[in-house]
Point group: D2
């Protein structure tokens, strides 16, 4: 079989580097180029020493990349930058998988409220939301795929079976999420300065985080019954991993058995979802594309509690992007994504 | 002034060692003995090398300690062990400050449901619950003080102003807590084995933790209006610190200003409570007796969110115990507890 | 091509689990059984939750394993246990790759000085020392391969080019090594208790560690000129990785260029050795079979300084064992071992 | 007794903040001002949230500070900045304790080789080197005290008894040091970015670090017999602590007993030196002014090995500076420095 030719735009950050790691191990893909505006000309391993001898392509500028013939392009760029390039790559006939937040929301006003002025607003609402467990049909046909945010992936996967079932009160669903630091990107800053964060833990953006509308936007496609989301992110002093603890008040009493059954049914046949029988641990998915989900029903309080864990750089970013590529190009769904977690 | 003579029963663990650290710096206290059943005869510094040259008392057995004349005894023993000794020390006329869970609940049945058969049930309900910000009157007169659990301290301090105000729906209050590993004690075990926990994070006892009834038991003294607590503990890969994220549905709408005012009023004059204007960080209280509390009102969801942080070994255990000693013996409230947090 | 059938004896620990991780990704190998004396009957994922859905074989007892027809057996057992089983598996005609220290030393007396009484002394000196970069010829023909220790792997790779060249004074070579905690195994203990080790760092066994004779034993095969080794191990508060800082006084002055050239020549064609041009970082080899080595010549002091890093569970244990399997069965040298390091 | 009035110039960094922490607990000192050029006007707790309610002084500019009447000034400024202010404060009659490297070396050329052009060269060689265990006589009379670097403190304390004894070969002494990240300062950067450093470990400046001449400069005052130092710094993924592993070839054979005796004699009466009988741990000195030192004689190799640990921010910076203040002003040597380490 001919290999799918792909390009990675924005390979200097953690998401781009993780795409390289996964795609080097993918049997049906060839990486044609990797770009970086600030490091063009340098070898990739100068930025990411781990890849010495593994990735010999030099970094190029995105302008050069536009004309290189590839089937698909991953945009691993910051929010607000992707939207400058997505239209150009689409025009060249590439399938675009965008890992930024620029096309995740269906609603321009909502985007501009939480992000900034959009420069390609005509594409808003045209992208498939790239969460394969919920939207594989759309993904298979899309030329623009908006790869979900890391927090939203963990929250949506935890909530989807409940939202679809309709068994929730029309009140606030609480998503208390805790993320490792790679989610904050490769650029050094005060809150990720090692001496400050080591032994530390805190919540941030308690007043509102842009992933809250993303969670709500996607889940509300599953059910017309209203709900709101209170999303509280916290920063964990680890490198990789997100755990979300989700609390939902059901509209009708249920029991643990039924709840678990609804989850196993909902995710039946999904290769990357593992319904666990004990609270999941972030380290159990480290480096892999798994999402481990533990649904629990608290009889005493009449409360559904769901715990989910993912590796934010894999299922929460690069791995899910490759899953989307596989779906879009009719490849084996797990191609390149079969790696076991690093244990311990 | 004559110094208060005290003994520490159970000095081999983290709580006992932390009592030593604090009391060595206390101007009005003299440590008369320290005990350990398993290490009696050994120098304290053999167990805790940090204290070489600082604590020269040898460890003795508790049987020897019973007859040594002291004013007060700290029991830094496991749950189920304290209740064997508290009556004996009380009989000898010592003030007993118990750091275990043996006398924290008012209700024998509740204790025996969550812990085990009680051997001194006559003392159940006789102890003052040693949370100085709420129960200083009782503490000042008590001969048996039940020092609160670490999680309950963080949760109760976050909730007390709201519960007292009555502004909460009669529904479930959510306490999502994250604790460092010293809370699990000094005994090695699988979940605190370094390679397993490093880079890891998970919830545990989602089905129910004995600190849930303790939180409910104490808070319900503040208001007769009903509520229930859903308490979810998580294990953080750090040594010290607890952060609790608390969600309460108010029965009447409020605003951020009023909410903050109710907290500053409630804790007015309390030397160890700091109402912060940004989400608090566990590292900002490390090694100190402070509780940093951040009350927030989420207008959009109509939800009160409170974040609190403590050092679980200080405000959550040994520091609070010394605060109780100070109150009981009419010492300066902050004596021995004025140390700044270790930063960073 | 038919797959090589293998068994893993001792799959409950970190080394056994790492063998599973690597071999699941190996195109030419099929895992026929995995054993554990204490957990026989349990699913593997009960011990290592990371492998849920990936490894469905149940654990069996080694007695059952003896008669199962396989081509090769990995013994991932503690020192002193391996030597009970190696002879039995050899008698059954299996190739035995032993990851313990039981057959690494050529000299029975030396073994019994540093370990214990040997029960299969007739095999001492019969095993190939499984460091492929130095002993591939022996490995290809051996039925018993003694897989090197983790510290020795890092030290020997750093020193081999210098020792072979003979350019060292007949005095003490210093190997100052720092290891992550997985090297201490899966069994919880005081020094790897999370609260003790977090934020901590220390040396241990300064008076002598059994890896010192192993380092000397193997290196002295490269040159008859005498040398001694001072090996000082330290425990790093991380999970994976060893860094060794090695100091050698050369017998003749050299320069950086020549030194580097001798390293690149020595390791020419070796797929897992990367000679770096800056001090190597343990995280750059995490999860991979690479050894990154940085040779430096300190002109001012006339001193050779070599830094080497490996992942102790991969190049220091399971990965090297699979490399040995590949060599012994004429497979592609890198089969199953091509995975990029986890970055970051 | 009247309190000694002091000022802290440069309170935005970790060293300045640590001075505040220690001096708040000092019975004989009053802090008159704290300065920061970039944050003048802000409350100190805006930069260091840990100090809320503890330090209410606002930050001022150093220009304002010059005329405020104090007895002593701590300069917690970067190298190259201190030398601009030290002469001005000396002219005003303040005792100056400089925590930068600007006056540590006796030799202008050496300074300019390793640092930069000096702007107050007339003071070079006039400062007392503020290591109290070696130079208390000079410190007591000095108006300018150059507080030692953190690495040099750990290395010099480990080596001083051996150097003074003269029992070393005239060859290279190896100082293999490992430091926590607070030594790199409060300014975020690539090598201290949390995701990069977590789980990582590496050496740096293998080609030469400016602390090497400082170590040599100070130790050579103890003995005219020549020696050279090879100093290799490594970055530990922890916040506080330095461990140095030092290797010395003695010129005459010795034994463990004599070696230990020479250390206990040398440091007899020194309140902050603890000669341990097992390898010291960095966590055992955390937050305290102790240096724990373990001298060992390796009979087999005829090699002296010394391990020392300090908290780089206390004994390696602010604590030692306060010790110098105490000596200079005839205060109790341990005043303000009696705090026990934080354990664990």
């Amino acid at each position: 079989m001919n290999k799918i030719k792909i390009g990675i735009v924005g390979a200097s950050g953690y998401t781009g580097s993780e795409l390289v790691r996964i795609l080097l191990n993918h049997p049906n893909v060839s990486i044609e180029y990797i770009t970086s505006e600030t490091s063009a000309g340098k070898p990739f391993a100068d930025l990411h020493g781990a890849f010495r001898q593994l990735m010999e392509l030099p970094l190029i500028k995105v302008e050069e990349a536009l004309d290189i013939d590839v089937d698909a392009v991953f945009l691993a760029l910051p929010h607000g930058v992707s939207m400058n390039y997505a239209p150009q790559f689409l025009e060249k006939g590439r399938v675009v998988i965008d890992l930024s937040g620029d096309y995740r929301l269906d609603d321009l006003a909502l985007y501009e409220k939480w992000y900034q002025k959009h420069v390609s607003p005509e594409l808003i609402g045209k992208a498939a939301y790239g969460l394969p467990e919920l939207f594989s049909k759309e993904i298979k046909q899309a030329n623009l795929i908006a790869n979900p945010g890391c927090y939203p992936t963990s929250a949506i996967l935890a909530l989807a079976p409940v939202i679809q079932s309709g068994n929730y009160e029309e009140s606030t669903i609480i998503v208390d999420s805790k993320s490792g630091t790679t989610g904050a990107g490769i650029k050094p800053g005060g809150s990720t300065h090692f001496p400050s964060l080591y032994g530390n833990f805190f919540a941030y953006k308690v007043e509102g985080h842009r992933h809250q509308p993303e969670i709500h936007n996607s889940l509300s496609k599953l059910n017309s019954k209203a709900f709101t989301i209170k999303f509280t992110p916290h920063l964990l002093p680890i490198d990789r991993g997100i755990l979300s603890t989700v609390y939902v008040k059901p509209s009708e009493t249920t029991d643990l058995n039924n709840l678990r059954k609804s989850f196993t049914n909902f995710y039946s046949g999904q290769p990357f979802i593992r319904i666990t029988d004990a609270p999941p641990q972030v380290k159990n998915v480290k480096g892999s594309n798994f999402a481990d989900i533990f649904p629990y029903y608290d009889q005493e309080n009449g409360l559904i509690v769901i715990l989910s864990v993912i590796d934010n750089l894999v299922k929460g970013a690069a791995g899910q992007a490759v899953h989307n590529l596989n779906l879009r190009f009719n490849l084996e769904e797990t191609a390149g994504l079969g790696l076991a977690p690093l244990n311990p």
